[in-house]
Amino acid sequence: MESLLIPITVFVLAAFVGFEVITKVPPTLHTPLMSGSNAISGITVIGAIVAVGSSDTTTATVLGFLAVTFATINVVGGFMVTDRMLEMFKRGDRR
């Protein structure tokens, strides 16, 4: 268990940041925020890259390739679509 102390500490702190960072969100931002944070969760892409990059079995490589593809869809699609949704707030600088 000892080796888990640090990752768990990091996890707990990061979770707190996550909890606190989101306080009040106007409803129009619900979908963009969901989409944006979903894109962030595509961070598994780095896990996928490591996995496929260091894989030695074909299964692992195939799985890894799929993982990279899936994660990249999530990341690229997610950020781009969020940006598209947020275009409507361009006028936000009016104030």
Partner: protein, 456 residues
């Protein structure tokens, strides 16, 4: 690349995610926030690619290119109205990726220690569940599966069995380290994702997606534990927690609880059955929705009616107008000749609230302006904004001139229910695509909107 430097760069990426998320919560900063987060992601990917441990770039590059192409294509081409299901689909891919990472780790090192195997099991379970659940949500929103809640007898029994099987699968995987168990686990998780999402109605789907998004964050975090990557742990935890909070906010805005949404088989949308037996659906809004819609408008026309008088909401209405004006929104009032219950009823109210006479417009003077109006805010008016007086020659009020609010970009109607007004007839305006209903007493409701606008 130096492993320490790599660590610090990952930390920087995580910081960019945090800052990005934070900025995503306010309309004024949301766009840059999204960019911050995407820069963080780019950084993380580049750093990973430079990792000394990577030997075969082929599959990596292939995956990146294929994924980026698909993602970009979908993000570009999908209709704005299809956004929710697109997010659902992306979310599904993310969950799937987490499960695959864990699987691939298992394939590479089947003889990992128990802790790693447990984490792999959890990662697979959550990831696969997110994948199937998200795609069911996608299907529902896309209309492929029908918006209604789909249930079957014995639902609870099946769900419970699947859940138990999932836990058992994780344990079996952890003790055996066998790929077979992993596949079984995937199957179970898949099934669970489907049976748990199907019964939830279309209107509740955004909540489900948000919840699954949170879950996919946790899956990423679990993957981080597997490959011992702080970047994954932090980002995953961040998304997991933020997603949970967001889910909660959404659920609260619907006046529900999360358990209620996830486990109620009656999660249908709010639909009203019209006189003619067909089902008409209204879009109902919260004070926050109304606040954002108003605050980001350029031209607002307020249409007061008898309900304003009943609620004695004139003072708070004026305050809302003043607040909007201070934000640069143009606010005018359209006074229908027979609004209220006596000639000049609205004049009395608005004069009491000291609304400038210059801002009051007669029907003839304002009707042409509605197509150029961003938001028509209908406060306790009903008959005087009933388009059937204009369009439906069978209507008992056909021929009465009405305010053409339905020609405005958005219509917000504040009233307590769908009950009819003086004329006792239904109002098709309420079921229009561009109409948002805010069900509230006018005084209380506008009070809430004022509060919400102040907090924008």
């Amino acid at each position: 690349m130096n492993i320490t430097l790599q660590g610090f760069l990952y930390l920087l990426a995580a910081v960019l995610f945090i800052v990005g998320l934070k900025r995503l919560t306010s309309p004024a900063t949301a766009r840059t926030g999204n960019r911050f987060a995407s820069i963080g992601m780019l950084l993380a990917i580049v750093v990973t690619l430079l990792d000394a441990g990577i030997i075969g770039y082929g599959a990596v590059i292939a995956g990146l290119v294929v994924g980026a192409a698909i993602g970009a294509y979908l993000a570009r081409t999908v209709e704005m109205t299809a956004m929710p299901q697109l997010v659902a689909a992306f979310n599904g891919f993310g969950g799937g990726a987490s499960a695959l990472v864990a699987l691939s780790a298992l394939a590479t090192e089947p003889d990992s220690d128990t802790r790693t195997l447990v984490t792999i099991g959890i990662s697979v379970l959550i990831g696969a569940l997110t994948f199937s659940g998200s795609f069911v949500a996608f299907g529902k929103l896309q209309g492929v599966l029908g918006g209604q809640s789909i249930t079957f007898p014995g639902q609870i029994v099946v769900d419970s069995l699947l859940a138990i099987a999932g836990v058992a699968g994780v344990i079996a995987l952890a003790t055996s380290g066998s790929m077979l168990w992993a596949w079984i686990l995937i199957a179970v998780a898949f099934a669970l994702g489907i049976t748990r999402t199907l019964p939830i109605g279309g209107a509740d789907m955004p909540v489900v997606i948000s919840f699954l998004n949170s879950a996919s964050g946790l899956a990423a975090s679990a993957a981080g534990f597997v490959i011992d990557s702080n970047a994954l742990i932090i980002s995953g935890a961040l998304v997991g927690a933020a997603g949970l909070i967001l889910t909660n906010i959404m659920v609260k805005a619907m006046n529900r609880t999360l358990a209620n949404v996830l486990f109620s088989v009656f999660g249908a949308g709010s639909a009203a059955v019209a006189d003619d037996g067909t089902e008409k659906v209204t879009r109902s809004a919260s004070a926050d929705d109304v606040a954002v819609t108003l605050a980001y408008a350029e031209r607002v026309v307020v249409v007061p009616g008898y309900g304003l008088a009943v609620a004695q909401a004139q003072h708070v209405l004026r305050e809302l107008a003043a607040l909007l004006e201070s934000k640069g929104v143009e606010v005018r009032y359209a006074i229908h000749p027979v609004a209220g219950r006596m000639p000049g009823h609205m004049n009395v109210l608005l004069a009491e609230a000291d609304v400038d006479y210059e801002l009051l417009y007669d029907l003839e003077d304002i009707n042409g302006d509605f197509p150029r109006t961003d938001v028509a805010l209908v406060v306790g008016a009903n008959d005087v904004v009933n388009p059937s007086a204009r369009d439906d020659s069978t209507s008992p009020i056909y021929g009465m001139p009405v305010l053409d609010v339905d020609r405005a970009g958005n219509v917000i109607v504040i009233k307590r229910s769908l009950s009819p007004g003086f004329a006792g007839i239904d109002n098709p305006l309420f079921y229009n695509e561009n109409t948002l209903m805010f069900f509230a007493d006018a005084k209380e409701g506008i009070g809430e909107i004022v509060g919400a606008v102040k907090e924008l």
